[in-house]
């Protein structure tokens, strides 16, 4: 029922939950996990298996929360016994694609462990094999193990999986292992030893987003799994949840609280021109296209002419099968690689020019009807159904409306100005955490951040993404954090820091001269469009920072939250502001343009000069910004560094056995 109907019939309803503003509960745990998405659940599970007490704090409801909560169709870049590809080769796809600006540590961990992670998921009840023989005999199936593969049928490094089963399975496993789950609870700050920025993390504060009750978590070790900021450049006040790929609640809470606590970040200057977040898209995976979930779907124009596919060398492919095989001399195909080494077959690259010449007629359509039967069924029925946000919104909704994959051509919005995947967009319409890789926390080989006692996993890490990455890094961080917790004594929380945070949170419920979170987010994203668009210069970036300082002084003290839900949204937009400031500082520090970072400076037009091929780092010391740098290959030898720290694990690993 709509609120208006209710209000008209019965008057404005009362807030449905009891209000406990100021009421305080303290919890002491060995390991505290902040964020109950894919990384968080895996971290909690592997820490709990070490025999330590684990508490997990989740803003939504763990059973379906997080970017990977609704589903997942592929488990990519996973070396396994059926593939010849090594972990080093798998990581190289990310290195090549990003021009080196990748998180090789956090990419190498899944390359070694995500096959084990997948097998464990199966034991918890996740479906990872075609046990019902739905695709018996298909080229993408291994008949013995019943695994299904995607994108590269020869090299078998990307699995097709039934990801709608994953999150409930993880949730059940957390409960079985005795993880204390605090749902509808938003973490708001990290607590440092002695209330000193940069010192050991000894817990966190949080509040219940329905009742407003305040929580203090005292923990020997904390694992941050709070995803990444969105709504930095683009915000639609009437459509806030409309077309962000990740849940719109991913607003950089983890980034902001770790930054305030003194943790070190990198890659914060990277952004991508993209319309995702603009409210102009179509349901994700819900339009005809040949990418990702829909690979290798045939595309036709309005007159039924098929658009040819080419390999990385521009050779026309003769049949559907060749779209999922490497070109002659090519090692293997990456899932999203743009680099020559791993680029997947794609539609002809001069398609737009040929449309302009009249050779093809818009609109284009996905033609599942002409696909081999098992390819049609696996795109429409498995990939589109198991991928997040595709089962109910697309597979079932379109099916009910009468769409039949055997007979119908699904329209594509490519070149119609509304394509959320590939259309050119205005330079100021940028995104940070919405798509691709972005800035985040820097860690060592144990996934411990620059702050002692604070680990990080999943999208909380810089240059991260993918479900398998969140799972494997969460699992790894849980093992390391659990092991550390066993050795540590009970920490001490500094009461003054708790009081400060408590006052900060509840101040938003007591304003007289009020502005709301939507006006605030609309303004912060406008500032980023105006002063951190593309290209940028020092003057613009500094005005951007000036604006945020003004807002912190004048508008933050007026931000008002009428109930605990709006208090959550209010704290989110303040975190968006903090993340925006981090981005501006990082942009000021990089005095060179880079194609790979989506970063251009008017003053430094040369693209990717070798002298600047390095990471810029950013943190706070005594509340002052401190910029640092790291060599592009700071992670050293992947194999040696990993194996020297994981000797015990190597014995049990299924990696390429």
């Amino acid at each position: 029922m709509e609120w208006n109907e209710l209000a008209e019939a019965q008057g404005v309803p009362k807030w449905p939950y009891p209000i406990f503003y100021g009421k305080e509960t303290e919890i002491y745990t060995d390991v505290l996990v902040l964020g109950g998405g894919i990384a968080g659940c895996w971290a909690a599970i592997s820490a709990a298996r070490k025999g330590v007490k684990v508490a997990m704090v989740e803003k939504a409801a763990t059973i379906r929360s997080g970017a990977g909560g609704p589903g997942c169709d592929h488990w990519v870049l996973t070396p396994n016994p059926l593939s010849e590809i090594t972990a080093e080769e798998a990581v190289d796809t990310e290195v090549q694609d990003s021009g080196g600006y990748t998180n090789a540590i956090s990419r190498y961990i899944p390359a070694r462990e995500s096959f084990d992670t997948l097998l464990e998921l199966e034991r918890m009840g996740g479906k990872i094999r075609d046990l019902d023989d739905e695709f018996k005999g298909a080229e993408f199936r291994d008949e013995k193990t019943k695994f299904l593969f995607a994108y590269d049928y020869k090299n078998r490094i990307h699995f097709r999986v039934w990801g709608t089963t994953f999150k409930p399975a993880l949730f059940r496993e957390c409960k079985r292992l005795g993880v204390k789950i605090y749902d509808r609870t938003m973490a708001t700050s990290l607590l440092n030893e002695g209330d000193q920025q940069g010192r050991r993390v000894v817990g966190a504060t949080a509040f219940n987003v329905r009742t407003g009750e305040f929580f203090i978590f005292k923990a020997k070790v904390t694992i941050l799994c709070l995803s990444r900021p969105q709504r930095i450049w683009q915000f639609q006040s009437e459509l806030t949840g409309f077309d962000t790929l990740r849940p719109q609640t991913n607003t950089g809470n983890g980034h902001a609280m770790a930054f305030r606590a003194g943790a070190e970040f990198t890659l914060m200057e990277k952004s991508v021109a993209h319309i995702m977040g603009s409210g102009g898209g179509f349901p994700i995976y819900g339009q005809g296209n040949p990418f990702n979930t829909w690979h290798p779907c045939s595309m036709v124009d309005a007159k039924g002419n098929e658009i040819p596919w080419v390999d990385r060398d521009g050779n026309i492919l003769k049949n559907v099968r060749e779209r999922s095989l490497p070109a002659p001399g090519q090692k293997f195909l990456g899932e999203r690689s743009l680099s020559y080494a791993y680029r997947r077959p794609q539609l002809i690259t001069d398609l737009l020019e040929r449309i302009k010449k009249g050779e093809f007629t818009l609109p284009l359509y996905a033609d599942l009807t002409g696909m081999p039967e098992e390819e049609r069924r696996i795109i429409w029925g498995m990939m589109v159904r198991e991928e997040g946000k595709t089962n109910i919104p697309i597979y079932q909704t379109y099916g009910r409306a009468g769409f039949r994959p055997e007979e119908d051509l699904l329209q594509s919005y490519l070149f119609l100005g509304s394509d959320p995947l590939r259309s050119p967009v205005l330079p100021h319409k940028r995104v940070f955490g919405e798509v691709g890789d972005c800035g985040g926390l820097l860690t060592d080989w144990n996934l411990q951040t620059s702050l002692e006692g604070l680990y990080a996993a999943g999208d909380q890490l810089f240059a991260s993404n993918y479900h398998h990455h969140a799972a494997a890094t969460g699992r790894y961080a849980g093992i390391k954090a659990g092991a550390e917790a066993i050795k540590r004594r009970e920490p001490k929380i500094h009461r003054k820091q708790v009081e400060k945070e408590k006052n900060r949170i509840y101040s938003f419920t007591k304003r007289k001269d009020r502005i709301n979170w939507k006006e605030f987010n609309a303004a912060s994203s406008r500032i980023m469009q105006n002063y951190c668009g593309d290209p940028k210069n020092e003057e613009l970036l500094k005005i951007g920072l000036l604006w945020f300082k003004d807002i912190e002084e004048n508008e933050v003290p007026r931000l008002f939250a009428a109930d605990p839900h709006k208090l959550m949204r209010t704290l989110e937009v303040i975190d968006i502001l903090t993340c925006s400031e981090m981005i501006l500082h990082a942009c000021l520090a990089r005095k060179a343009s880079s194609k790979f970072l989506g970063f251009t400076r008017y003053e430094y037009p040369e693209m990717d000069p070798p002298a600047w091929h390095r990471f810029i780092t950013i943190k706070q010391e005594a509340n002052r910004i401190k910029i640092g740098e790291l060599p592009i290959d700071f992670y050293g030898s992947l194999k040696e560094n990993y194996e020297s720290r994981n000797g015990d694990y190597l014995i049990s690993s299924n990696y390429r056995r």
Partner: protein, 97 residues
């Protein structure tokens, strides 16, 4: 009898993300507890469909529908501007979601 016309603000969002079938919904509030955006609240009248308090925040993930114990009690209602078209290959006939 004249229908009373109330003074109400404009809708907060162009969209109506969820439709409830009153006869099928038992008011169990499973959807209220599953929604990752927390857009629903229980109906003050027990046993009635929940109230969509924050329709602008819907992520359109469909988790509420997926976990609803009564089939057909909730329908995810895609925004009109997100309705995609298709064409029947043989006949050229046009359709839309």
């Amino acid at each position: 009898m004249k229908k009373r016309i109330s003074a109400t603000p404009n809708p907060i969002t162009p969209n109506k993300p969820l439709l409830f079938e009153k006869r099928r919904c038992s008011g169990c509030n499973v959807c209220v507890d599953i929604c990752p955006m927390d857009i629903l609240i229980p109906n003050p009248q027990k046993g009635s469909p929940p109230v969509v308090l924050f329709p602008d925040e819907c992520w359109y993930c469909g988790s509420c529908v997926l976990h609803c114990p009564k089939k057909g009690a909730i329908t995810l209602n895609l925004p009109l501007i997100q309705r995609v078209r298709w064409k029947r290959k043989e006949t050229g006939e046009h359709f839309r979601v």
